[in-house]
């Protein structure tokens, strides 16, 4: 092969390296699941930028002739700059974990091998059909560049190749975590799951139990099996006597997997709603998955469930013989809150003859507190200490938390919304007393990942917005029509709502109408691969 060809190949490999960063990033955001990745890929991203660049690169080779090396260089520079510029704008950039490094290495090796192979074959082919000399040298370059069009498939193939290694590594981590958790004999393991309310309940429970115990919780959003394994290996120590494990699920068996590792004796199911309906396909599946936690509890264990949630109340497939405690506000609950008062400064309620008060907002938080009290009672935390902790509870950031920003009250409910939570947030917004001339504003993109029921859910959101807010800004391409139809159904005047193209646009518009004394509710937020 000529020097030209080698130089071109080398530049193609560099280009692949840059493009692969974005492909791996999307793959990471899809939780490394092929099906999720393909859902992102087709049809929206078939014409992604890097594919277009690669195609242009091939065409450039065909046209430019001996200038192909120069062209490749120019193209590569443009692509690299573009990719790194778009990285800076991303909210959750690619995290270079060890797994990503392994994947990246394999992908580059794979591309290099494939590119060299097709380049060689192309050169052979050119020789066989006796193309003119000046054109013959183009063929390898075109072949290698064409391969760039399929960069993400190469990344997926590299992942496939790495699968045995990843499996072995994960197996090792799993066994290590198992050993660690089993060596802590007195450890009380509490599982918390639900379509929503998990993280808040987990944090409130930790604050209350910390009055008596040394508590470890799975941090942030580490609610997958790998996250739990990592928490155990890095943070679980012999002096912990309570371990609260938040368990998230994207498909059936996810929760059972975690329970098989940690063996909880207490389980809380906070709610069952129509979240992630695309992967679960049916509400029955969601119910079954959440209740994997309850069904894995031993006979002397305690299952604590929220019967205000209809899909929990009517669930009849509990197989464990553990003790079940029902909490909520309706008559079915044994742990039942009464005399409930909501206000902009929090909530007060009565439970079993005791008066409780908290600064947290909304009905959702009340239920979360009840779940935490149920556990604290069973673990014998004195009632006065429970009350002290509850009075000190602070909202989790972005989960209906409140802050003051330059005279404007911001209600931040930006985390993964669900129809229930949005309704509660809007009710809370409605409850705010504002001064004369001030507005209650909501900014939202609506609900995502709800499969068939997404449109109706967003319409209902629109209706609630019209009933509770004075002004609305809708930020979303997909949901805007559904939300708008709901808003109009409830006769909100057209000058009281605004449709924005993206968040920057929304903020620009907000700045024109905002005044000190206004209240702004941020409802829902979006990760990167859904636009």
């Amino acid at each position: 092969m000529s020097l030209y060809t080698i130089a071109t190949l080398f530049l193609c490999i560099l280009t692949f390296a840059a493009a692969a960063v974005r492909d791996i990033h999307m793959f990471q955001l899809s939780s490394y699941r092929y099906s999720r990745y393909f859902r992102w890929l087709v049809p929206a991203n078939i014409f992604a930028k890097n594919r277009i660049y690669a195609a242009v690169l091939c065409a450039a080779f065909l046209v430019a002739g001996k200038l192909q090396a120069l062209f490749a260089l120019v193209m590569f520079t443009i692509i690299t700059i573009d990719i790194f510029k778009s990285r800076k704008k991303e909210k959750t950039p690619l995290v270079f974990t060890k797994r990503v490094n392994r994947l990246y290495t394999t992908a580059i090796i794979l591309y290099t091998a494939l590119a060299a192979a097709v380049a060689f074959l192309a050169a052979q082919h050119a020789g066989n059909v006796q193309v003119a000399a000046k054109h013959a040298s183009l063929y390898p370059g075109i072949a290698a560049a064409a391969l760039l069009i399929f960069s993400d498939f190469i990344v997926l193939a590299a992942n496939f190749v790495n699968t045995p290694i990843e499996k072995a590594i994960n197996r090792h981590y799993y066994n290590d975590a198992k050993k660690i958790i089993e060596s802590n004999k007195g450890l009380v393991v509490i599982g918390v799951t639900g379509s929503f309310g998990k993280t808040s309940t987990k944090n409130y429970l930790a604050a209350i139990l910390a009055e008596k115990y040394n508590v470890l919780v799975t941090p942030g959003n580490f609610n997958t099996l790998l996250g739990v394994i990592r928490t155990i290996r890095e943070q679980l120590r012999p002096y912990h006597n309570v371990f609260i494990v938040e368990m998230g699920a994207k498909q059936k068996n996810d929760i059972k997997e975690i329970c098989d590792l940690v063996h909880p004796t207490i389980g809380i199911v906070t709610a069952v709603g129509k979240m992630h309906l695309e992967t679960f396909k049916s509400v029955e599946n969601i119910q079954d998955t959440k209740f994997e936690l309850i069904n894995s509890l031993p006979a002397n264990g305690i299952g604590i469930i929220n019967t205000d949630s209809p899909y929990i109340k009517n669930f009849d497939r509990i197989t464990s013989s553990c003790n079940i405690i029902k909490y909520g506000t309706d008559s079915d609950a044994s742990l039942r809150a009464t005399d409930i008062q909501y206000s902009a400064s929090g909530v007060t309620f009565n439970l079993a003859g005791e008066q409780y008060s908290s600064r947290l907002l909304g009905a959702g938080n009340l239920l979360n507190i009840l779940a935490a009290i149920a556990v604290a009672d069973k673990l014998q935390v004195p009632v006065q200490k429970q009350k002290n902790a509850i009075a000190r509870l602070q909202p989790v950031e972005h989960r209906l938390s409140m802050r003051n920003s330059g005279g404007v009250t911001v209600l931040d409910d930006a985390y993964n919304s669900n129809p229930q939570g949005a309704k509660i947030a809007l009710e809370t917004l409605k409850n705010f007393t504002v001064k004369e001339g001030c507005k209650r504003i909501i900014i939202t993109p609506g609900f995502v990942e709800m499969g068939a029921s997404q449109a109706e859910a967003n319409r209902e959101l629109g209706r609630n917005i019209a009933r509770c807010a004075d002004y609305a800004i809708v930020v979303n391409a997909t949901n805007r029509d559904a939300i708008r139809s709901g808003i109009e159904e409830e006769h909100m005047p057209a000058d009281k709502y605004f449709i924005a193209d993206n968040l920057n646009h929304a903020h620009a518009h907000l700045a024109t109408i905002l005044k000190a004394g206004d209240v702004v509710l941020y409802e829902n937020d979006l990760p990167d691969n859904f636009k």
Partner: protein, 400 residues
């Protein structure tokens, strides 16, 4: 899996050897089923060492030989880093000796008990037993301790205080002030020494001047106290934290000479190998009237709380036998032998005492983790620095 405890002792203080005893007693009494113990010895020149040889008290007769059998180590004051590192890593050795879960300081005196060591631990964020920086500093300094207790209505002996520079610059007026406020006899003490070092009584002006000149060879802060002639000393220990604590039984340490001297505390003990405070001849539980005992125990707990202490501390009282008044004399935030000989009467042995101290340390760390820490914004990344940042979980700022 056991809890990794680093027992730190020695130190750049006059009580270096005493702390060796305290630490070895603690390490002998700790439950080996629960804890993995790593002894860490700080030499008089401030270097840290670890090694099995540190567990045999007889090795300390020849420190040079002892240190040759150990390896030098250090910890980093980087938040979250609780590793003990080798100073001189061999080719095939790991740089980390072990990752510690909690530190048990068994250090006495200046540079140890006064908050300096505790401050280093706070930097690395590792849980540690005993008082934090604040309580250690205030407890160690006799002047600030008395100021705080007086403010809280806890009885202390009348006092004055001044600095060494004041003594040099304004000696006449200082003497006059002391004579007017207290009158003779007085006791002259360095504000921050432990174990009775630098302390002298003064019955007249001549003795006073001599005593102060002696005291300022040790310190820059001097405290003068009224000398209670006929006194009885009573000690009481307290175990707990700043919101919940229990007192021990009282003890009367028996003494030679006018004041309990260094000799009394550590060199006597009838021929036994030096066993620190344990071997001072003493009366436990103290033979006192019920209401005196109760008063002392309550005052001890009040003192513990007023100074925001954690862990175990020993509070030393003085009873003026002439008037019957009871005063808090001083507090030892890391008492010799962790005053385990007092706790035996409350049902603790060394093992369960250490268990409680370690539990208090973990709970303090956990309580602190629930307090909001607001690091504020990066003031360099404001509007002035080029445009408000929008997006990122909708945390953008409003206002023009």
């Amino acid at each position: 899996m056991k809890i990794n405890v680093g027992v730190v002792f020695g130190g750049r203080s006059v009580e270096n050897e005493i702390s060796v005893i305290t630490a070895n007693q603690a390490m002998a009494g700790m439950d080996k089923e629960k804890y993995d113990i790593t002894p860490i010895y700080i030499t008089k020149s401030g270097k840290w060492y670890t090694g099995k040889a540190l567990l045999d008290v007889s090795n300390y007769r020849d420190t040079k030989k002892l240190l040759a059998m150990c390896e030098e180590v250090y910890m980093r004051p980087i938040y979250g880093d609780t590793n003990l590192y080798r100073s001189n890593k061999g080719l095939f050795q790991k740089s980390v000796v072990t990752k510690l879960d909690v530190i048990l300081p068994a250090l006495h005196g200046t540079n140890c008990e006064d908050g300096t060591f505790q401050g280093v631990m706070e930097f690395s964020g590792i849980p540690y037993t005993g008082c934090n920086t604040l309580a250690s500093a205030n407890g160690m300094d006799k002047i600030t301790m008395k100021m705080i207790l007086k403010e809280c209505g806890i009885p202390v002996i009348d006092y004055c205080w001044f600095s060494d520079k004041e003594w040099s610059d304004k000696q006449q007026s200082t003497i006059a002030a002391v004579e007017e406020k207290l009158g003779y006899p007085v006791i002259v003490k360095p504000a921050n020494s432990g174990s009775s070092v630098g302390i002298r009584a003064a019955h007249n002006r001549e003795e006073f001047i001599e005593a102060v000149d002696y005291a300022i060879t040790f310190t820059s802060r001097v405290i003068i106290e009224k000398y209670v002639q006929k006194l009885k000393e009573v000690n009481c220990a307290v175990l707990g934290n700043y919101y919940e604590c229990e007192p021990s039984v009282c003890e009367v340490p028996v003494r030679s000479g006018e004041i309990l001297s260094y000799q009394d505390k550590y060199m006597n003990g009838g021929g036994k190998q030096s066993q620190g405070m344990q071997s001072t001849v003493r009366e436990i539980p103290a033979n006192l009237p019920q209401e005196t005992t109760e008063f002392i125990q309550k005052a001890a707990c009040d003192t513990f709380r007023a100074l925001s202490c954690d862990g175990v501390a020993r509070i030393d009282f003085i009873i003026d036998e002439a008037t019957g008044e009871i005063f808090v004399n001083e507090i030892n935030t890391i008492p010799g032998s962790l005053s385990f000989y007092l706790w035996e009467y409350s049902g603790y042995n060394f093992g369960t005492l250490v268990d409680k101290l370690i539990d208090i340390a973990f709970r303090r760390k956990q309580d602190a983790s629930f307090k909001a820490v607001n690091y504020g914004e990066n003031i360099f990344a404001t509007k002035a620095a080029g445009g408000a940042k929008m997006g990122s979980k909708m945390g953008g700022k409003f206002g023009k």
